[in-house]
């Protein structure tokens, strides 16, 4: 490196190194926790209608980043959502990566034009060979794959992480995921969760979907 580049690194490490090192230290355990998401399906293989295909439920969290989009070595993308507020930033990040996946709200008054694409043959939500991992197939190949399901967890979760395979999203179509707040009542207790569904839509993808 040139002397300018060496000096610049010294200044960066001196002026900005401590916050980064501190953030890195905090982020490592959090990143592991974020994979503890659960895909809630009806169990076993479920034939998918052309509408909303599955529901993913997670508790909202205020201690972790609202979203994360990570490109994996195999070209797939892992999307982690921790709260509804993260959807706009997550959409911007997905768009910047050229990935045709959009997260939209479900709204009672939504009138956006939405045309569902016909699902490919064998479009099923199914359990994969790995126990505790389930996938949603929207076309040829797995488009959405829930990443990990911790043993013993079935009702309360720390976050949601789905794996997206952008290469198999058909040309001219977009995976539209919807999110909405759900109240779960267990006896006298009420907890809030985020419900998510996904479908394959022809472009232009809708900006919202009706409830």
């Amino acid at each position: 490196m040139s002397s300018f580049e060496e000096r610049l690194w010294s200044e960066l490490a001196r002026d900005h190194g401590e916050p980064l090192a501190s953030a890195l230290g905090r982020a490592r355990p959090t990143r592991r926790l974020r994979t503890r998401a659960v895909l809630v399906l009806g169990g076993g293989a479920i034939a998918l209608a052309a509408a909303a295909v599955a529901t993913l439920v997670l508790t909202a969290s205020t201690t972790t980043p609202a979203y994360a989009v990570v490109v994996n070595r195999d070209g797939s993308v892992t999307l982690t959502l921790n709260e509804l507020l993260g959807t706009r930033a997550a959409n911007a990040r997905l768009a910047s990566l050229g990935i045709r996946v959009r997260i939209v709200p479900r709204e009672a008054g939504c009138t956006a034009k939405a045309e569902l694409a016909p699902l490919g043959a064998g479009a099923l939500a199914q359990r994969t060979e790995r126990r505790n991992v389930e996938s949603i197939l929207l076309a040829e190949g797995a488009l959405l794959q829930q990443v990990a399901r911790p043993p013993g967890h079935n009702t309360a979760f720390d976050g949601l992480a789905v794996r997206i395979h952008p290469d198999v999203i058909p040309r001219g179509e977009t995976v539209v995921m919807t999110v909405r707040l759900i109240d779960n009542r267990t006896g006298a207790r009420t907890s809030h969760a985020i419900g998510m569904s996904a479908g394959l839509y022809r472009n232009p993808a809708p900006s919202c979907l009706p409830i």
């Binding site: 610049l8 960066l12 900005h16 980064l20 953030a23 910047s96």
Partner: protein, 170 residues
Amino acid sequence: MDEFEALYRAHVGAVTAFFARRTRNPQLVADLTADTFVEAMGSYVSHGPADGSERPWLFAIAKRVYAKHCERASRRADAARRDEARRALNEDETEQLAERIDTQRSARELLAALATLPAIDREAIELVHLAGFTPKEAAAAVGVSPGALRVRLFRARAKLRKESTNDVQF
């Protein structure tokens, strides 16, 4: 911090060259390079790169930094403030950056020759032929599919061949 330092050392030259293709002012190249890595350090944890996508991630930040600079420079008051260099270079550093800027002269001329093309096409040419990105990396950086990027590259190369009068070869 070690991982970020490794990223810095691997890519600081490419980021410096990115700005050297856009300005002939060594002081400005120094400031914009510094701004890029300050922003990169700030977002490394929350919005950092995945394995193998460090270079597109850094270039996306560099693009934003340069766009902000252009916006500021269009306002006279801010442009005047920018003249007060925040990271004063010594003689050796100025000379080193001036050399870096000089080596990018033909690249600046090449980009100027593509001025009539859409911005994404220019960017595709720059990333693949000047910055050494793979088409897949460049596609991710500009936000199009690899197939679409190849089409844009083909179109841009065809225009270059048609308009070049000397030694531009693709």
